[in-house]
Amino acid sequence: MSDFKSNNKVVNWIEERLPIFSMMQHSAIEYPTPRNLNYWWNFGSLAAVMLIIMILTGLFLAMNYSSHTSLAFDSVERIMRDVNYGWLLRYLHANGASMFFILVYIHIFRGLYYGSYKAPREILWFVGIAIFLAMMATGFMGYVLPWGQMSFWGATVITNLFSAFPVVGDYIVTLLWGGFSVDNPTLNRFFALHFLLPFVIVGLVVVHVWALHTVKSNNPLGIDMKGPQDSIPFHPFYTIKDLYGIGLFLMFYMAFVFWAPNFFGEPDNYIPANPMVTPPHIVPEWYYLPFYAILRAFTFDLPFLPAKLQGVLAMFSAILILFALPWLDSSKVRSAKFRPLYRQFFWLFFVDCMVLGYVGGKPAEGILIKIGQFCTAYYFAHFLLILPLLSRIEKPKPLPASIAQPVVKAAALVAMIMVGLAGFGGEAQASSAGMPEFKKPATAFSWEGVFGKHDKASLKRGWQVFHDVCANCHAMKLVSYRNLADIGFTEDEIKAFAAEKEVPDQPNDEGVVNNRPARPSDKIVPPFANDKAAAAANGGALPPDLSLMNKARPSGPYYVYSLMLGYEDAAPEGHPIPEGKFFNHYFPGNAISMPSPVMDDIVSYADGTKATKEQVAYDIVTFLNWAAEPELDARKSMGVKVMVFLGVLTALMYALKRQIWKDVH
């Protein structure tokens, strides 16, 4: 069928044997595309770009990751601290997952609004749902890999969903786990599957695009292309428009990577997995929250259908019902533009999903339970009652004769929705109910803001406090002595710090293990041989490792600062504190085992700074922040350069797009 001709003999030689050039010409260059696509049609190609970024970053992360329960957490931290640009790869990947879902959710709602699921695009729609399902599975298993507390408990809760099925449920769960709890076999298989599934998604995307090119793109008017006047070739018109969209999107994405890399994450996932302790408030990643809310909405047992099974079935149905959508909505008119009633119900449904997401991120208590149940009922009513009814009673507006008319620009709306969705992620954060507002230092922490950096002088003072005070009870196992070079200590000073402690040497020729002085390449030596010894020496309460403390608590730096200064000499009236504990306003439950660690002049600063307790707290928080995010200075300075670059590139692409499109508009 090829009308492809080239002047290049090599190209012709290849073309005769493998018609790859005519295929590209046919499906990427000449491919007739409706001339009126608005910016909502950018999200498909954006999602494809995101998939490529995820596979690339994931591949290089996998080269440094260990999928064993005893190594996984530390190997991720090694990526963050020691692997060249490892922090960048990991933050691109972790935030990329959220970006991918933002893009795909917009893509899905675009399809819902403009009726892209209707004939002849049903199979295109089905493949899209399959991609969405594969993404959910991939995202879930990927979140397990860092082996933090949320990883572990997320894996436990989600795999336990399958136990709801009668008779076979428990067998399925045991099979998923490869044991009697989420453990090493589970982690190993999740890693293998997390590596495989993205390539399955690539295959599905190929089928998705194949189906698309067979039936051609829908468009904002929802009417068919009737001739050449309605279409334009994909290249250069939509290649440049897609590229411009990619530029805008990358800036949005990079803002999170460089300045709020843990915005979508949970602080609890910086605590290593502990099968003995569930965090007080566990939530899935934000992109599962609406479905999580549906899962929790069922609380009444029915005969043969316990509440647990109802919830699980409803959650799966909430996605699977999308397969029936082309028949549930039998209106012949595709675009909501010409369906006055459907348009209103579309937005109601959109709000319903948002509210479900909000409810899913909050503890299941009080009025939220009722709201979640109402929204769940509405979710299904939308598909099973409203849509079938609308198709019968709605009087659509007259459709235009053809689509050759001005294109609607919606860039501002896109930006608005993206920001809105980002806020949605923020809502998913656990609330810290019942705690007073955190104290703030008189001068803001130096590393905050777009250009913020860790203050070297404060870091050195903070190390002194850690070394003289904190390190008597607390470990900092993820930081090595050599890392102290980052905060301005000389090689000799670092050697001296290391040599204060001893570590077990290699067995000598007689097989005896002797101690040797620690070296700069060793991790900071913990004060106790193991956790049991540490707990025993501290009244039964294990002093937590401080390596990641600033990232492992909501608003970490402010939490630690407030905790340092939040002690009362005597417990206030009505707040009895057990023997041997101390009262702290900011510690969950108020009864803390650690005695007040800071007081005026607890250290004598080498640089002569007056060691008020506020100053000491400020310095230790600065030092802990560096320990948790040693890449922060490099990250922010790279972020500024990346943003300037993307700004220039995007401006150029916009200008080029204007130039290319000026005769079409």
């Binding site: 290089f60 440094n64 601290r81 692997v83 640009y85 490892g86 390449s521 150029l652 130039q659």
Partner: protein, 184 residues
């Protein structure tokens, strides 16, 4: 803005020039950006900071008697430490440089003649040559013999016969005390 562009009605030649300029500028900036973005991926495969920090090994050599060898690990590779006997040193010293594939004097290869320190990796394709244990074959020149493809090294660890192109390399080292050597 859009209206202005239409009203201005640039001649098609000017429009084409402007479009070409934008196309080349955008492509160039985009290509540079893509290139720069690839670097973190490539560099992530280079040795990480913790790997680089483990680049020295201290060895106590007080217990190694003349004629004995020990093998220690440095950067994940075997390092041969041989306490040479006088005849081995003499043997290594009297070879004519012209007979060597990679001419090096024995004095250039050992800071103290009695201590020969080598990276124990055959320069052919990376196997560990035999010759550390008393019962091992030592090759035709009394040093080391690589069983993989038959390379013979002399008592200074220099290649004398077989496919290997170069002598066994000498790692950086220094004697921190009379009985301790730091490799790396």
């Amino acid at each position: 803005m859009a209206d202005q562009a239409h009203n201005a009605q640039p001649s098609s030649v000017d429009g084409q020039t402007r479009r070409d300029f934008l196309l080349y500028a955008t492509s160039a900036v985009g290509a540079v950006g893509t290139g720069l973005a690839l670097w973190p991926f490539v560099h992530s495969m280079n040795p990480a900071a913790d790997t680089l920090a483990l680049s020295t090994t201290d060895v106590d050599i007080s217990a190694i008697k003349p004629g004995q060898s020990v093998t220690v690990v440095w950067r994940g590779k075997p390092v041969f430490i041989r306490h040479r006997e006088p005849e081995e040193i003499a043997e290594a010293g009297k070879v004519a440089l012209a007979d060597l594939r990679e001419p090096q004097t024995d004095a250039d290869r050992a800071k103290k003649p009695e201590w020969l320190i080598l990276i124990g990796v055959c320069t052919h394709l990376g196997c560990v040559p035999l010759g550390q244990k008393p019962a091992d074959p030592k090759g035709e020149f009394g040093g080391w013999f690589c069983p993989c493809h038959g390379s013979h090294y002399d008592t200074s660890g220099r290649i004398r016969k077989g496919p290997a192109p170069a002598n066994l390399p000498v790692p950086p080292y220094q004697f921190t005390t009379d009985t301790t050597v730091r490799i790396g």
